[in-house]
């Protein structure tokens, strides 16, 4: 056993050190391979496209299945050497995870760029052609540009070259002020406004839909009313006091029987024996449905409705 090998963290495929030859080789090979794949895919015959897509999907999914299923080495340090093949694979998988996660984020960033491009194309087109409601489109484009400009300007003033001269506490810095005004003053509070609007919508939806139209609706409404009453502390305490007064104190048969009618106990019963089993059943179904859909996508046998 080479004890000296444990002194420095190993220079592996996924954890090549900054500036090392291995990292440069990886970057150049990945770039050339990427270019080759992009151009090559455009020229491959049609009949090969589906097998390539299915194979790439399978390999990508297989990596994450392996991550989940393969025994993970617990609490190892970077300088440790794997003791057997199982641990070797485990070390390799664990060290690859941050890099693969970064792939995801890079892809997400690129696709976000695509989405923003589409958004701008749609709305600038509407402004130029003076479609109906074009002022809203103009507002969106201006907001996007202004937010982006202030965001980068503020970042540059805090973290860019020469940032050590600026002070965060100095309210005179215009980009910082602009950014705070737009993001923390306007955007975050608009977020809160939208969230708060849900209360009003719940109100009108409940008024409209909670009607005694049928036996099932009556049971539903009755249960909902009991649960809502139990959420109100004053009602809960008052109701329980009335029940205790009727049943008497102590642990006699009457008191114990009447205890079942305490609002808290009724609510607990509904929660434990009606609500929870129903939610569990729905969750089982959803989880199995998700498993089936994921399996079909992974194995490339998902047909879609249109074949």
């Amino acid at each position: 056993m080479n004890l000296l090998a444990q002194l420095a963290p190993p220079n592996t495929f996924w954890t090549a050190h900054n500036g090392s030859t291995l990292l440069w080789v990886e970057i150049i090979v990945a770039f050339l391979l990427g270019c080759g794949v992009v151009f090559g895919l455009a020229y491959i015959p049609k009949e090969l496209r589906k097998p390539i897509i299915v194979t790439a999907t399978f390999l990508g999914g297989f990596y994450f299945v392996l991550q989940y299923m393969w025994p993970q080495a617990q609490d190892y340090t970077k300088t440790e050497v794997p003791r057997n093949s199982v641990e070797s694979v485990s070390f390799w998988l664990q060290s690859s995870l941050p890099t693969v996660t970064n792939f995801n984020q890079v892809l997400t960033g690129l696709l976000l760029g695509l989405g923003i491009a589409s958004l701008l194309r749609v709305h600038i087109g509407r402004v130029v052609k003076k479609h109906q409601d074009w002022p809203y489109s103009l507002t969106l484009v201006i907001s996007m540009v202004v937010m982006t400009v202030f965001g980068y300007w503020d970042w540059y003033s805090k973290l860019g070259p020469g940032a050590e001269k600026a002070t965060l506490a100095n309210p005179q810095i215009f980009p910082n002020f602009g950014w705070n005004f737009l993001f923390e003053g306007l955007f975050i509070n608009l977020d809160a406004v939208m969230y708060s609007m849900i209360a009003f919508f719940i109100f009108s939806a409940a008024y409209r839909s909670f009607r005694l139209r049928s036996a099932e609706a009556t049971v539903l409404l009755g249960t909902a009313v009991l649960v809502m009453l139990s959420l109100m502390g004053g009602v809960l305490v008052g109701w329980d006091r009335v029940v205790d007064a009727l049943g008497g104190s102590g642990h006699g048969a009457v008191a114990t029987f009447m205890g079942n009618f305490r609002l808290g106990n009724i609510k607990d019963w509904v929660q434990n024996y009606v609500q929870s089993p129903s939610i569990r059943a729905i969750e089982f179904g959803l989880a199995i449905g998700l498993l089936a859909m994921s399996l079909r996508l992974w194995l490339g046998i998902e047909k879609g409705i249109n074949g």
């Binding site: 958004l119 608009l190 939806a205 959803l286 498993l291 089936a292 994921s294 046998i301 998902e302 249109n306």
Partner: protein
Amino acid sequence: MQYYDTGYLQFVFVVVLVFFLIFNIVRARKGKSLFIRRIAGLNAIDEAVGRSTEMGRPVLMVPGLSNLGPVGIQAVNIFSYITRKAAKFGTPIKMCLADAALFSVAQEIIRDVYQSEGVPDQFDPTSVRFISDRQFAFAAGVVGIILREKVAACFLMGDWYAESLILAESANEIGAIQVAASTITTQTPFLIAACDYVLIGDEFYAASAYLSREPVLVGSLVGQDWSKLLIAAIIIVLTVQTSIEKAFIPQTYQESQEGAGKVWTTKQIPPHLKKKAELFERRLFYPHDPEALNPKRQKLKLDPWDKDDSGG
């Protein structure tokens, strides 16, 4: 590596479920006819699209905050079916997405639908739009589209969170017919209150099989049902087994006498005083429970969060 906590049972169970799915897919491919029950929400699609055509107003489809995953793909699959119906009647469509990756995929799928229907000119690239990946900015944008375009039919299917009620109520305000489905269970009650038809739970995943009757999809659906039956059977069997165990089967353990060296005596705990960790079903699902691994039942100092539930 989750099975360290649950043992190999979890892995075996998943393999069994996967076997059910693949077995039934193969079975369906061989031409065996399989039954699917009626789902009202999916039957209403034709009605909703027809209504939009009559009123000359667009159909809106929103997959919620779904990203490019099984939920998002399933939502877009259903929307492609709706788009096919709309394309046949020349009804305009609007699709609003919150995920850029799903947006790219959805745009291509919808374009393909129009091409396969023979009406590629009808496809408007701006009808499939990326709105925003911020939850409430997305909600605000879609509500604006609903109220300005006065959509006649609204399909809200996918991963819905707090914004579900905002959209559903806004569409309800203008009298649009709504069909919704959420994979987040806690949003289902809001959608039921505000929408005309709701697909509950895995009816969402059954939609593609229901609408297309494609053998792979129908077989997969039957496999899902077998899996649910297996889970139900396990619950029933273990409930009965645990009840019998707690009523009749005592726990035997060995204890060393204090100050007497290594002399072990065999003792028994009455069935009704057995701890949760000593029950068979607990040991089956949590084999590495520290309580369960201790055959010599000493007085262990319990952590504050462990209830001393000798009553089960």
